[in-house]
Amino acid sequence: MNPFQYVRATKAKAAIDARAGDATSQFIAGGTNLLDLMKRGVMTPQRLIDINKLPFDKIERQSNGLRIGALALNSTTAEDKQVLERAPLLAQALNAGASAQLRNMATVGGNMLQRTRCSYFYDPAMPCNKREPGSGCGALEGYNRMHAIFGFSDKCIAVHPSDMSVALVALDAAVLVSGPKGERRLAFGDLHRLPGDEPQRDTNLEAGELITAVEVPDSPFTKHVHYLKVRERASYAFALVSVAAALSLDGNTIKDARLAMGGVAHKPWRLTEAEKSLIGKPATEATFQEAARVAMQGAKAFKHNQYKLKLAPNAIVQALKNAAAVS
């Protein structure tokens, strides 16, 4: 690990100023992703700005939804009574991530900003445009079993690894950001970006911007929800593919639907067209199959991730069946 300075911020402004004035610095929250990257030599910040003492760890009820502080722990959030009541899909997604120990350290803000798990990104001896722009994409013609089937570019085919973010994008969440230029609010779907020509940029945040909270609006999706995570072992593994499915049912008719996928793109992948195809239809396997077909339009696989073309639609159908409790 490179030598680095460590400062602990007690005021948001101090943290933002420190970060904005020093391109070689990084915020550190739980550290469960950043420290690993530092140990492997993937990220080499000269200065760590510890934000854990900032007052952003509350989970509050607002008039139109929940406000979850960026420093709320993954475990606390997943167990929170209001989250369980109003956004059970989020709780399911959080619990599907990492391990109990990690969830006890990881924060909501850190989780959404965790970086890709692409193995080439993690090994400084390998080419990777995200780590070292211009060095080439190791995965494109390499081992790309975990990689994207949507929204990739020829510069980067990595996927975003967060489970939580898949639920948040499905639930139309918003991110509250505080930066050198003041505060702003981003739709969750606009936080992450596709790789395009700048795969080194994971998000649309500006330098020095601090996430302070995420807002989850109230929704009818409190009952028929399911977060399905397909993984190689029963726990503690990143998703091959995951699906956040939420239905609002009137009898057996779908009044409204939300659908998003993880493990398929550089950002949590909302499936708006597939959602539309569900609305007004009966909650049957045939309806779900059709939604899966719509969802998969435009998908393209590489050498080792062909299976995702089969797994992803299957997972969509399965998640919707589970959400609707259709057997």
Partner: protein
């Protein structure tokens, strides 16, 4: 509590005694290799090559040398030459069977991440930071790491070419490829990727030159004596000048059975700096330089009659090795002796690639071979329309068809029966894909394992101390099975002394000679030595006791109650104090050597046997596989401790789940470099993957192996588990996946 109970019925062997070192381990009191705090200790980090083959053209160490806290940066350019390296032949022509990598010897690169420099600094962080500052330039040569592309270059190991009696030679019984004459035939290929041992404890060493010709290492190894010999040879020292300490080993699974480049790197660094140097590998380095179960391709061709009698089996195998050492293992052995096929041919080859050398990993060879053989048996049973258990019974053999000798003991049928009952084999459907619960398909499978009931030669020292306790010592190691506990139990019975009055010490090259802990032979080998040493101690005490004990057999004697006496009531008695007096006030001490009986080994075939039954669920939509129940049954002779032996079986079963479903290191052949090299990318089973594992032991002694009747457990605990699971997957889905690990993508696309 256990101890008292054991004493009352006079038998500690067989008791479920808790580990003698359990408390130390769970309270942090057990000291592992990296945990010795020597005065002046400094830290180090390795720099690994980033090419798989070629030469180093330059190394820039300036920035590293200038970094804070750095004491030395050592490369092939400034390393002291290891005397034992120089004596070897021209580096371009390594001896045929090869030699371990000569670290920092020259500019040649044989595999990716080969250590090219070691940085020594006052703290670990500074050493690791400075290691990143070392800049190395290479001329790369075209490397070969692609197994498939090179498979046809597999060759007969040199040891087989040199020695016609070597078990690595081709083998034929009956007609060569005689399976061809059978009415029902199958041919199938089986592959698994390289699997890393990944014990919890990282490979670590502290190297300390106590004087210019006195080396002490605290080293994570399975053989303290073997390591002592290897380093003495390397450095041209008398063996007694090298001391090797491995009191505790945090798991190894075989990767402590060889000495690796990092050990010599640390010894060199200690020599250069004149300080004790600690080197602990990173998890990523655990993938590249400390051995692994080699990637292996196998083909089975099998023929049977329509009523399910095997006509012939041909088993071919190509296993990966490095270009500088020929690693071999007994991949085809089980095929030669497990079934009563009249025609059997085996052909074993190895393939040298630009990778580091593999090493035995739990169930070495047999676990690989059993995957192919036991899968093919299942496939053939399906072809002839028989239950695979019934098919195995029709081809069961009551003597060894390879060596034409009787088995010393074989209670595999008892295992079959016990396992079938416990797993609920009657629920298994003959046709696959019949059982379903919701979206999960359910299937049952079995796999058989075997491993030689090996026994080596070992010495043990036994001493009656002033406090009335007995101290035993032998230079074995304990990589986790509970060796010390078993030895104390054996000694307790041999001496008639309660277990809490006995201490067994291991893991130190100063102790009497014992082989490495490997090949499931420690209890057979060292247990026999301990037993013999205890009997010898009683004999010596009897002599000290003088005339009163003249007409007594040592076997009749016991040390219970602080005195030497007869097991039966009455007769002569003498207190320990008086015995010591008769010994000039000294500890009464003996050292003995125990060897297996040549006659029994000549006349009998000795093996442990196991069978594993698995119940699996396969998700119809996602291809996920979950093992929901396992039953592992073993014919392993006398079970010294049901608790520790049971844990061994459970650990083996879970390791087998990893082999079947999770483990496999992925190489990017463009770079000749592993892609998956941490525990996030390289999966091993986690707790949620471990189903209830029920263990059954036949627990009947095999007196031909040793006096205690033990046969060995460690390997058979995993051998046959992987095919039990893949066979169950077939039974659940009708999909036969012959490439491990069976991940959801393979199930979906099959």
């Amino acid at each position: 509590m256990n101890n008292i109970a054991a004493l009352q019925d006079g038998k500690a062997v067989g008791d479920r005694m808790s580990r003698v070192d359990g408390r130390l381990k769970v309270t942090g009191g057990a000291k592992y290799s990296a945990e010795y705090e020597l005065p002046g200790l400094v830290h180090s980090a390795l720099v690994g090559s980033t090419i798989a083959k070629g030469r180093i053209t330059s190394i820039d160490t300036k920035a590293a040398e200038r970094a804070p806290g750095v004491l030395a940066v050592i490369t092939h350019l400034n390393s002291p030459k290891v005397p034992g390296f120089a004596a070897k032949s021209n580096p371009d022509e390594p001896p045929a069977i090869g030699q371990p990598l000569r670290v920092f010897h020259d500019e040649k690169i044989y595999f990716n991440d080969q250590p090219v420099a070691i940085v020594v600094a006052d703290t670990l962080e500074r050493a690791r930071h400075a290691a990143r500052l070392v800049k190395v330039q290479y001329v790369a040569e075209q490397h070969q790491t692609n197994f498939e592309a090179n498979k046809s270059k597999g060759f007969l190991p040199t040891q087989a070419k040199r020695n016609p009696k070597s078990a690595q030679n081709d083998y034929t019984r009956g007609q060569a490829d005689g399976y061809q004459a059978a009415p029902v035939k199958l041919e199938a290929e089986y592959v698994h990727e390289s699997e890393m041992h990944n014990p919890m404890e990282l490979q670590s060493i502290i190297a300390h030159w106590e004087a210019a010709d006195q080396l002490t290492v605290y080293d994570k190894v399975q053989a303290v004596k073997g390591t002592q010999r290897a380093f003495a040879k390397d450095w041209g020292l008398p063996e007694q000048n090298v001391k090797v300490i491995a009191t505790f080993v945090g798991g190894a699974f075989g990767n402590g059975l060889h000495n690796w480049p990092h050990e010599t790197a640390a010894i060199i660094a200690a020599k250069v700096t004149g300080k004790p140097v600690k080197l602990m590998l990173t998890r990523e380095q655990m993938f590249t330089m400390v051995g692994y179960r080699p990637k292996t391709w196998q083909r089975i061709q099998m023929g049977a009659t329509k009523d399910g009698k095997l006509v012939g089996i041909t088993h071919e195998s190509v296993g990966q090795t490095s270009t500088y050492e020929e690693f071999t293992e007994s991949t085809v052995q089980q095929t030669r002796m497990m079934y009563a096929a009249p025609n059997v041919s085996t052909r074993y080859r190895i393939l040298g690639l630009d990778v580091s050398t593999p090493i035995w990993m739990r169930g070495p060879g047999e676990a690989t071979g059993a995957f192919a053989l036991e899968s093919a048996i299942d496939e053939m049973a399906h072809l002839v329309g028989l239950d695979p258990l019934e098919f195995r019974l029709r081809n069961y053999t009551d003597s060894d068809p390879e060596k034409n000798k009787p088995w010393s003991t074989k209670y595999l049928k008892e295992c079959f029966q016990a396992g079938a009952e416990r797993i609920g084999w009657s629920k298994r459907q003959l046709q696959p894909g019949q059982l379903r619960e919701g979206d999960w398909l359910i299937g049952y499978g079995m796999g058989v394992g075997t491993f030689g009931a090996n026994r080596g030669t070992a010495k043990a020292r036994a001493a009656l101390l002033a406090d009335g306790s007995v101290l035993l010592q032998s230079a074995t190691t304990d990589i986790g099975p509970g060796t010390g506990t078993a030895m104390v139990q054996i000694a307790s019975d041999a001496l008639g002394l309660p277990t809490d009055k006995i201490r067994f010490e291991l893991g130190n090259s100063l102790f009497p000679q014992a082989p490495s802990q490997g090949g499931s032979s420690t209890v057979n080998t060292v247990g026999s030595a301990v037993n013999d040493a205890c009997l010898a101690l009683k004999k010596k005490l009897q002599e000290l006791g003088g005339a009163a004990f003249a007409n007594v057999q040592p076997e009749q004697l016991t040390l219970s109650g602080g005195q030497l006496g007869l097991k039966a009531n009455g007769g002569p008695r003498m207190s320990f104090a008086d015995l010591r007096k008769a010994n000039n006030g000294q500890d009464v001490e003996v050292t003995t050597e125990s060897k297996p009986s040549g006659d029994a080994r000549q006349n009998y075939s000795m093996y442990s046997f196991s069978v594993h039954f698995a119940e699996v669920r396969v998700h119809a939509m996602t291809g996920e596989v979950r093992v929901t129940k396992m039953v592992s049954c073993a014919d392993a002779g006398t079970i010294v401790n049901q608790k520790t032996a049971g844990s061994q079986m459970i650990g083996g079963a879970i390791g087998g789940i990893g082999m079947a479903l999770h483990e496999g290191a992925v190489m990017d052949d463009r770079f000749g470099r592993y892609v998956t090299k941490d525990l996030a990318d390289y999966h091993v089973p986690v707790h949620a993957d471990a189903p209830p594992v029920e263990v059954y032991f036949v627990n009947k002694p095999d007196p031909l192996v040793d006096a205690l009747g033990t046969k060995g457990i460690g390997e058979i605990a995993i051998i046959g588990v992987a095919p039990a699971i893949t066979n169950a997957i077939f039974n659940a889905t009708g999909k036969r996946i012959r490439e491990l690990p069976v991940t959801p993508d393979k199930v979906l696309l099959a």
